[in-house]
Structures are given as structure tokens and as C-alpha cells.
């Protein structure tokens, strides 16, 4: 438990309290930039684990989730990691924050030999096969895989030669992905005609969209934080562009589709939408309602999945838990996601991302006044 600053000096000499629970620590961007997509994940994760505890816990023991806010600042993430590892003695470290916080947390995890799980934050390439021994990831985004899935969809849907434009925010991860997508599109027989990178605090996206529109693409693919994706799209539409726009489905995709109501605005993602009304969706509603979360329930799938993963990993860890045992469990994990994704989440020693990534594509249908699924689960094998 945290102590006051004065108390720390005194308590440092005292022995740590005996652990009677699985102790797991999270460093998350609960506030600061990007909090809108990370905070709901952590809250949903916590709500699910509280629910698990209420049902008796894992292997008869409670799960204690300690959340530290790092505000997307790398220094704070490092301090949080140190605190969680040294003081709280967590057996599993979780990162739900911006990519700038990865390096310090990886370093700390390595030093303490504790597995680091990226639950909700963009998966680093180190979780792809051959995977770094300590890094695991369950987040929906998949670098390079998302572009593959998206361009495969475009190719399948296009009835005429594809002139494709690309749009991204000027953050290194998005730029790298769009560059990859541009190269990939050429090998698939499409013609990349424009690539626009827009800096984050742009007061008006119209100048960037103007350049895109002038190149006259019939498809545009965007992979970035939601704000950049949607504002580029809106600017393009206002300029009179009538092509098709494909973009990544972030947490708020379901709500945004209903707000934008454009029939040619497609989102591609790996998590099932709430409109499918699966039994697990009712479960999510119940759990998060009990926890009194203030986010729209459609934002909570990713966090729920993370909770499921943590529960499975800890269940496979015999008592008393040590980081090594948790690592062994995670190296051979198969989590039933109850339909929230196209298949179960499977980790092996080589592959800490998942064996298969499944994609669906949706759009808003103005005729039916509802979201319709345009493509059902398409699997892409995750290989070296």
C-alpha cells in the first residue's frame, strides 16, 4: 500500500506485509494526453477484477490491482514501475499508456525479471514472434497487420482500380504504419496517390485535406488517434470529396459511426460491437454498471478483454505466485474471449501477440439507419 512521504522513511525499515493476494500493478495514462483511450481500459479492467474477487477470486485468492497514473510521462512511468516492483512487489506489471512510456518500463521489468503486459496500449513489435521473453500484449491494434487487413478489405471491395490516399497524425507510430501501408499498397496493385501527415494540434484540418483531395483518391486509409482520423474525414467531406474512407476502430468507433452517419465511412477493428448483443455484452454492462463507471459502455470492451486475460493468466499460476510462475503461465495461454474477438487469444513462448488476428469491417447504413457489418471475421496469421 502507498504510504505518506514521512512514513516511507520509517516504513522502509519494516518488513513488507505478507501477500495474501495476487498483486498486479498498472501504470496508465489516466490523465494527460490520450487519457480518453487509456483510462476506460483501466477502469473496465479494474471493474472486471473486482467482479472476479466478488465471485471468490482466482484459485481462491483475491486479485489486487494497483493503478498508478503516469499522465503519459515517461519519467512518471519509470517511477511508477519502480514503486510497483520494489514496494508493492507485483508479480505482473501492466502498461496502459503512450508508447513513450514503454522503454523505461521495459527496462524496469527486465531488471526485476517481471513480465510486462501491454493491456490496451499499442503492441510493441517486440511482442511479435520472435517475442521478447518478458513483453506481452493483448491490445487490438496490430502494427503492420492492421494495414494488411485494411488493404485486403479495400482490394476485396473495390470494383475499379484503386487510387488510395493515406492520412496519419504526426506521431512516429502512426507515420511508420502509414509508410508501411503505402509500400504494401503498391505490391497489391493499388496506386498510392497521396500521403498526408498532420501535426496533432491543428486548428483546421482543411489544408491537409485539400492536398489529399487534390490527388483525387477513391479510397483513403487512416491509422491514427481517432481525432486525426475523423477530422481529416470530415474536412474531406466538406471539400466535396465523395470517396470511401477506411479507418481504425478505436474505443469510440461505435458511438462515432452513429454520430457521423456517413455511408462511405468504414471502420476496421478486432473487437465485436455492442450491437451484436452477445451474452458477454450483457455481462460487461452488468459488471461496469455495478462499478459505476462513467464511460459509455461501448468503450469498455478492450479493458474487459484485458481483465479476462489477467484472470486466465493468474488462474494458471499456482499459489504462491512468483513472477516466474506467471511468466510460465503466460507463455502458454489460451483465453476464451466469449465472442468479443474473432477467436481466442493465444500466446506461446515465441508469440506474445496472438496466433491469429481477426478483423471485421463496419459502416453506417443510412437506409437502415444502423451500423452494418460489411465483412465478417477475416483471420491473418501472425508469423515471423
Amino acid at each position: 500500500m502507498k504510504k505518506t512521504v514521512l512514513g516511507i522513511v520509517l516504513a522502509a525499515a519494516l518488513p513488507a506485509a505478507a501477500q495474501d493476494a495476487y498483486v498486479v500493478g498498472v501504470s496508465a495514462a489516466m490523465t494527460g494526453p490520450g487519457a480518453g483511450i487509456y483510462a476506460p481500459v483501466v477502469d473496465a479492467m479494474k471493474a472486471y477484477l473486482d467482479h472476479v474477487n466478488a465471485r471468490g477470486g482466482v484459485n481462491g485468492k483475491q486479485v489486487r490491482l494497483i493503478v498508478q497514473d503516469d499522465g503519459a510521462e515517461p519519467s512518471r512511468a519509470a517511477a511508477n514501475a519502480k514503486r510497483l516492483l520494489a514496494q508493492d512487489k507485483v508479480v505482473l506489471l501492466i502498461n496502459t499508456s503512450l508508447s513513450s512510456t514503454y522503454a523505461p518500463m521495459v527496462a524496469e521489468a527486465r531488471r526485476a525479471e517481471v513480465p510486462l503486459y501491454f493491456g490496451g496500449s499499442v503492441c510493441p513489435k517486440d511482442t511479435y514472434p520472435p517475442a521478447d521473453p518478458l513483453q506481452f500484449c493483448s491490445s487490438a491494434f496490430g502494427a503492420n497487420l492492421d494495414s494488411q487487413g485494411a488493404l485486403a478489405f479495400v482490394k476485396a471491395q473495390a470494383k475499379e482500380p484503386v487510387r488510395i490516399g493515406f492520412a496519419a497524425m504526426a506521431i512516429p507510430i502512426a507515420r511508420a504504419e502509414i509508410d508501411y501501408a503505402e509500400g504494401l499498397s503498391k505490391t497489391m496493385g493499388m496506386t498510392p496517390v497521396a500521403k498526408q501527415i498532420s501535426p496533432p494540434p491543428a486548428p483546421d484540418y482543411t489544408p491537409f485535406a485539400t492536398k489529399l483531395k487534390d490527388a483525387n483518391p477513391n479510397w483513403v486509409f487512416s491509422w491514427s488517434p481517432w481525432v486525426s482520423q475523423v477530422r481529416t474525414f470530415e474536412a474531406l467531406r466538406r471539400l466535396g470529396w465523395s470517396g470511401r474512407y477506411l479507418t481504425w476502430a478505436h474505443l469510440n468507433a461505435e458511438d462515432e459511426l452513429a454520430r457521423i452517419r456517413d455511408g462511405e465511412f468504414y471502420v476496421i477493428g478486432t473487437n465485436a460491437l455492442f450491437q451484436d448483443d452477445l451474452p458477454v455484452h450483457a455481462e460487461i454492462r452488468a459488471v461496469t454498471h455495478r462499478a459505476n463507471l462513467k464511460y459509455p459502455v461501448t468503450y469498455l470492451t478492450e479493458g474487459f478483454i484485458a481483465g479476462l486475460v489477467i484472470e486466465s493468466a493468474l488462474k494458471a499460476t499456482p499459489w504462491p505466485p512468483t513472477p516466474k510462475k506467471v511468466l510460465a503461465a503466460m507463455n502458454n495461454l489460451k483465453v476464451d474471449l466469449k465472442g468479443l474477438r474473432g477467436g481466442p487469444l493465444e500466446w506461446t513462448r515465441e508469440n506474445h501477440f496472438r496466433i491469429r488476428q481477426h478483423y471485421r469491417v463496419w459502416r453506417w447504413d443510412p437506409a437502415k439507419n444502423a451500423i452494418v457489418r460489411v465483412q465478417d471475421w477475416q483471420a491473418i496469421e501472425v508469423k515471423r
Binding site: I8, A13, A72, S100
Partner: protein
Amino acid sequence: MSEPRASGYFRTTYGRDLALLDTRAQKAWLALLCASLLALPFLAGAFVLDLANQVLLTSIGAVALMLLTGYAGQISLGHAGLLAAGAFTTGILFKEFGAPFWVTLPASAAVGAAIGFLFGLPSLRLRGLYLAVSTLALHFLVLHAGQEYETRRGFSTGVVIDSPIQDPRAWYFTLLAAAVATILFSLNLLRSKTGRSWRAIHAREAVAEALGIDVRRAKLSAFVVSCTLTSIAGCLFAYYRGFVSAEAFSLFVTIQYVATVIVGGIGSILGAVLGTLFVVLFPYGIEALMRALGLAERLASVVFAVNYAAFGLAMILFLVFEPQGLVGIWRRVQAWFLLWPFKQRPVGR
């Protein structure tokens, strides 16, 4: 040069006059402080040790800024840019050439001096607000350059650096040595001709010029020295964290450093140290306070926003009610003890 503290201590040589410490009591207190600082890593837990390391690292930058803003009176809002310059120099040299730290440290210092010269050029024509704005603009340019490097070279999540020192205790002693060196260097510099010329241009620039002080040289030297120190701090920061990324050097970092100067008290090295303690420990203090008040659970997800708001509020309170900063409070407390049972200093002192 420092004010005599008690009666009975006569300064009979210039050496005694220039000495930093006069009385036996001062020396005793200093010895106690040194002993406790040296003993800290062996008594404190990992968390406190990390906090101490952070304080020491930040204090180097804070002292540098105090030299520039507190003594020479040149407002600079580009501090984070300087830290970034030192850190990125270290990162680039390490990643591209595998340079060891005895190459990167002087290189960072050199880069800092060069950029300091650049930052200082506007100060020859501008003052006050305009100077602050030009340093702000330069800050954004440095950060932009750093981000471009990160992207073009493919280090999208930052540049990882192997540090020669890994153990927190070793870091503590390294940073302690660096901080002490910086403070001694600054104290010495302030007593020299350069330091006196800084104080002069801060007080009344026209008069300083009339007295024959080369104002341009003084301003530029202030910038160069301060930026070199800051750049070295940036290099140490890069090694301490083990990586470099542009997001770590936002405008808020600059504001935090300026807060150390203001909250600490302008025109005092002790103020820089006290200000650093305040700024680094403040978020943890707020968290402790929230927990003590039982609000921790309810506000768990917005604790950062509370920190932010509380930091702004604390700065405002200091600016409005305690313009002399923590040093002012320290001096008042000291005066109370020194003068007891009297209250006021005698007239003329």
C-alpha cells in the same frame, strides 16, 4: 562576502572574508547535512532513493535556471529545449556511434553552449516578454528537430541508451557529486567578476553599461553557462532514465523548472534547491494528502488532474502571497531563531 551571522567572529584575512562558512555552528550544521546525505541511500527504501535521485537531477537544471533568471534576470522559457538538446545529443551519439559517456558528456556540454549562444542572441536586442517569447519559440524548434530525428531514424518509441551506472545507490552518489559540483561552481561564479556583472545587469542595465560592464558579454555568458549546465543535466537525465524521447521535454517541464526558481525564491541558490524539493515532492504530497483525507478511491482516476490543478494553485499562492518564495520563509524562520528573544533586525543591517 556573506553576511556575518553572529558577533565574536572577526574576519582578519581576505580568505576568511571570502569563505562560505563563518561560524562553528554553520560548519557543524553542514557536517550534519553531509553525514545525513551520505547515509541516506543506506537507510532509505528504494522509493525514497528514487525520489532523492530525481531531486538531485532536477536541482542541477534548477540551479542553472536560477543563474540565468534569478541572478542575470534573463527570462528563459526554453529550458526543456535545453534539456532535450543534451539528452538527444547523448542519444544520437550513443545510437549512431556507440560513444561512451566520457565523449557524450562533453559533447552535450558543447552542444548546450552552442545552443545557449543561439538562445542568448535575442537577449541582446530584447528584454522581458519578448525575450521570453523568443526562447519559447526556440524551445519548439529544438523539440521539432528531436522529433524529426526520432521519426526519420525509426526510433518511434524513443532512443534506448545503455547506462554505465545501473545501481540506484551508485546513481545517488554520482548525482550527489554532480549536484554539489554544480552548486559550488555556481556559488563561485557568482562571487567572481562574471557573477557580479550579472547582478549588475539584472538590477539596472543602463547603469551597468555606464559603469563599464560589457552588457552583451554578460548576457551571452549567462546564457552560455546556464545552458551548458542544463545540457549536462539533460545528458545525465538521458543516462538515468536509460532512454530519450521528445515527449519527456514538454512545455510543462519548463514551467516546472521556472516554478522551482519562483517558488524557491529569485536570486538565491538555496532557493533553487528548496524550489526543487518543492516541485519534485509536491505530487507525492498531494497524493498523500488525498489518501489522508480519504478521497483517494473516489478521485483515483483523476489524481493527475488534481495534481495539475493543485500545482497551479500552489504557484498562484506563492506568487501572490510569498513573492520571495521559500527562501523568504527560510530566512524568516532563521531570523526568528537567530534573533530570539528579539524580533526585529537592528536598524541599519
